[in-house]
C-alpha cells in the first residue's frame, strides 16, 4: 500500500497563499515615509526644518532629497557670494525657529530704507519704517541661509532624514480611489534604483520642477526677455550702508543691496544682449557702467521733467509733509573677486499647488522677477502655511496626503496671497520697460502720488513683509 506523503502540502498551501502584499510591505516598511520633500534648496530645507520642529508632527518620518551635496559652512568665507535674497520680517520669524541664530552668527545685513526711482523722470518713492531705527528687511546670502538650515536640520536627525547626492528619476502616483492590491502611496524611484514610498510628497524642486511636470499640473509661464547680472561691489568709501537702492532703467531695473559697510550686491536685470556685453567688459568699464546707470540723467526728457515737477508742486501743496529728496547711492569702486554671473528671468505660476498626495511650494509653484525681492519670501510663506495646515491635520488624526480638505486650504490661502503679488510685480516690470512718453508720465504721476500717501506705503510694506 502506497502511503502518499502529504506533509509538504501545508508548506505549498502557505507558499501559494502567501500574501505578496505582506512581502512587499515587509521590505518597504522601513522605506515608507510620512512626508518626502523633493529638493533641498532654501525653501525645501526650510520646509524640512519647519516640519521637524512642529510638535504635532513629532514621530512622523520625514525625508529630504537633494541632488547636490551637503552645504556646510563652518566659517563664513571671506568673500561674499553673488546670490543673495532679501528676507522679510515674516520670513525671519519662520526662520527664527533656530536657524536665524545661525544666520545671525554667520552673516546678514539689515536695512532700514529703500529708495526706488525712475531713470526717465525725477519720480521716486522711498520706503522706511517710521523711525529709521527699525529694520525693514535683511539681505542674506543664499548659501548662508541653506547652511544655517542644514545646521538646524542636524539637530532634528532622529525623525528628519536627509539624503544628499540623490537624484529622482521617476514618480509613480497612486490612484485616488482605494483599490485592493495596489499601493496607495506615492512612489519615488531614485537614480540608484531604490524606490521609496511616501504618504505625502512635497515638491520644492525649483522653477523647472519635475514634481510639477510629472504630476501634470498646468503652469502659466513666460520668459521675460531679460537676464539678471549679479556681482559683489566694493564701494568707494565706507558708509553706514543701510539703504537698498533700485533704479528703473528702460532696459530693466538695477539694484544695489547692502552687504556690509564696504560692500553691496548688484542685481542688474537687462536684455540678454546687454547682459552678455556687461559680462564681457573689463572691471573698470563695468564699474563705470554701474555708476552711470545709477547717476546719469540721460533718459530724462524735457516734457517729462516739466510735467513731473508740476505734479510734484501740486502734491506738495496738497500734502506739505510728503515727498522726499532724492538721494544718490554710494559710488562703486570695484567688484568682488568672484566672477559676475548672469541667469535668465521669467515668470511662472502653477494653476494648482496640490494634487492627491502632492503639494508644491516655492519656485516650483511660483516664479517671479527679482525686482521686488519677493521670490524667497513667497516660498517661506508657503512653508509656514503648509506646516500649519499639516500640523492641524495630524492633530486630527488625518492621513496627511489624503486629506484634500487641508491641502485645499493651503492652496487657496497661498494663491490668494501670491497671485496679487505676482501680478503687481509683473505689472511693474512691464510698466517700467518702456520710455514712451505716455507710460513715463503715467508712472511718474503714479509713483509720486504713492510716495505722497504714507498710509498706502505702509500697506505695501506690510503686505511685502508677511
Amino acid at each position: 500500500v502506497k502511503i502518499i506523503d502529504f506533509s509538504f502540502m501545508p508548506k505549498i498551501i502557505r507558499i501559494l497563499s502567501k500574501d505578496h502584499r505582506d512581502e512587499e510591505s515587509s521590505t518597504s516598511e522601513n522605506q515608507l515615509f510620512d512626508i518626502i520633500i523633493s529638493g533641498g534648496g532654501m525653501v525645501g530645507t526650510a520646509m524640512a526644518c519647519s516640519l521637524g520642529l512642529d510638535p504635532n508632527l513629532a514621530g512622523k518620518k520625514i525625508l529630504l532629497l537633494e541632488a547636490g551635496h551637503k552645504k556646510e559652512m563652518d566659517r563664513v568665507p571671506e568673500t561674499y557670494s553673488t546670490r543673495v535674497s532679501s528676507i522679510s520680517p515674516g520670513s525671519a520669524t519662520l526662520l527664527s525657529l533656530g536657524a536665524w541664530d545661525h544666520i545671525a552668527n554667520m552673516r546678514c545685513k539689515p536695512y532700514n530704507k529703500m529708495q526706488v526711482w525712475d531713470a526717465c523722470s525725477d519720480a521716486l518713492i522711498t520706503f522706511d519704517k517710521d523711525n529709521l531705527q527699525d529694520e525693514m528687511a535683511y539681505i542674506v546670502e543664499n548659501d548662508v541661509i541653506v547652511a544655517a538650515l542644514t545646521k538646524q536640520l542636524q539637530t532634528l536627525s532622529d525623525h528628519v532624514k536627509v539624503q544628499y547626492r540623490t537624484k529622482v528619476v521617476k514618480y509613480t502616483w497612486p490612484r485616488p480611489y482605494h483599490v485592493s492590491e495596489s499601493i496607495p502611496w506615492v512612489q519615488v524611484t531614485l537614480a540608484n534604483g531604490k524606490t521609496l514610498q511616501t504618504k505625502l510628497l512635497i515638491g520644492a524642486d525649483g522653477p523647472n520642477s519635475m514634481v510639477r511636470r510629472e504630476a501634470g499640473i498646468p503652469t502659466v509661464k513666460w520668459n521675460y526677455d531679460q537676464s539678471a547680472v549679479v556681482a559683489v561691489l566694493h564701494l568707494s568709501e565706507s558708509t553706514e550702508n543701510n539703504v537698498a537702492w533700485q533704479r528703473f532703467l528702460p532696459t530693466g531695473p538695477i539694484a544695489m543691496l547692502p552687504l556690509s559697510d564696504t560692500e553691496s550686491s548688484l542685481v542688474w536685470s537687462t536684455s540678454h544682449q546687454h547682459a552678455e556685453e556687461l559680462l564681457q567688459l573689463d572691471e573698470e568699464s563695468f564699474v563705470d557702467a554701474i555708476n552711470s546707470a545709477f547717476w546719469s540723467n540721460e533718459n530724462h526728457s524735457e516734457m517729462v521733467e516739466t510735467a513731473g515737477s508740476l505734479f510734484r508742486t501740486a502734491l506738495s501743496v496738497l500734502m506739505p509733509d510728503s515727498g522726499s529728496a532724492r538721494q544718490l547711492p554710494p559710488s562703486v569702486a570695484g567688484i568682488g573677486p568672484k566672477s559676475r554671473v548672469m541667469f535668465p528671468l521669467g515668470m511662472g505660476h502653477a494653476t494648482e499647488y496640490i494634487r492627491h498626495r502632492v503639494a508644491i511650494i516655492g519656485d516650483a509653484a511660483h516664479r517671479v522677477h527679482p525686482l521686488a525681492g519677493q521670490g524667497a519670501n513667497l516660498g517661506f510663506g508657503d512653508v509656514a502655511y503648509l506646516t500649519k495646515v499639516l500640523s492641524q491635520a495630524a492633530f486630527n488624526g488625518k492621513d496627511l496626503g489624503k486629506s484634500m480638505q487641508h491641502l485645499l486650504e493651503f492652496e487657496t490661502e497661498r494663491q490668494r496671497h501670491n497671485l496679487p503679488m505676482m501680478a503687481a510685480i509683473d505689472l511693474m516690470k512691464r510698466l517700467y520697460s518702456t520710455n514712451a512718453a505716455p507710460m513715463v508720465l503715467l508712472r511718474t504721476f503714479g509713483l509720486q502720488a504713492t510716495n505722497a500717501l504714507p498710509p498706502l506705503k505702509e500697506q505695501i510694506m506690510a503686505y511685502a513683509s508677511k
Binding site: S25, N56, A58, G59, H178, V179, S180, K398, M404
Partner: protein
Amino acid sequence: MYSKKLARLAFGLLAESTLKCPLTRSVSSRVNAVRTPCSWTVCLHHRQKNPLSEGLTRLNVRTVSQTTLDPAEVRKFQAMASKWWDLQGEFAALHSMNDLRVPFIRDNLLNVHGIRQLGKPLAGLRILDVGCGGGVLSEPLGRLGADVRGIDPVEDSVQTAELHSSYDPDLRERVRYQACTLEELAEEELEGFHAVVASEVMEHLADLDAFASCCQQVLKPGGSLFITTINKTNLSYVFGIVAAEQLLRIVPSGTHDWEKFVSPEDLERLLESFGFYVEAIRGMMYNPLTGAWSWQQSTAINYALHAIKRKEEPQPGQVWAESENLDEPGRATNYS
C-alpha cells in the same frame, strides 16, 4: 444619520440573512415583524440559516485575522471598499463627521488623561469602536496613537476595514478589527478599555439596556463613553427622515426608524442608571450643501455625548437619590 451597513446590504449579500444579535427586548415578537432588505434593524433577529448565506460562509473559510484574500472575495471588496473609503461617495458624510468626532473624543480624553506623548496624544489608551463599519473612525484614532479595537457584527465591513488599514504599518500595529458583537467581547474584556466609542450606532439598536450594561462592563472605572446619535424630535423626523430619505434622498427610504431615535434626556437617564456620569452633550448639524458638520447649540437633530463610568461599582438595580451633589464621579457616600 447614515446607515453604514446600507451599501453592503444593497448588494444583496446579506439581503435575506440576518445576524445574531441577542440585544433583543423580546425576540419572539420581533422575529417576524421587521424584515426589510435594506434595513439595519437586522440586529433584532437571531441568525437565520439561509442557503444563500450558508453558501457564502462556506466560501469564506478564512477568519478575519488572516490577510490572505481570495480573488473572488477581493472583487467583492473592491466594490465595497470604494464605497466605504470613497471620500465623495455615499459615506462622505461619515468621513466629514470625523472633523467633529475626532476632536471631541481627543479633547475629552486629553482632559481626563493629560497629554501623553507629543505627536501621539492618545498613546497608551485602549479604545473600543463599537459598530466600526469600514474603520472610518478607528483609523484617525489609531493615528493619534491609541490602541483601537474595532468591532462590527458584519464580517464584510471588518474585512474592508482590515484591508484598508493593512497598507499603513502604523495602523496595522495599533488598530485591530474583530467581527463580533459587543456581548461576545464583553465576556472577554472586562474593564479592559479606557474609552468606548459608539458613533451612529444607537439609532439602530433595539435593546439599549443591554448595550449600556455591556459598555459598563468593558470600561475601566473612570473610563469614557462617547456616543453620537440622533434625537427623537419632530425636527429630527422632518430633517432626518422626510428630508434626508424621501426628499433629498441622501439616505434610502427605510434606513432609519424614528421610533428608535433616542433623546439625550432618555439616554442620560439610562446611562446614569448604569453607573455613568454624563459629562457633556453637544448638538451637531449637517449642511448638505457644503457636506460639512458643525457644532450647534441645539441637540434637536444630531448630538454627541460624553459620559464617564463612575469609579465605584454600583449595586445592580440601584436607584440614585436625586441630589444636587451627585456631580463628581466616584463619590462613595451616595451609594447605599
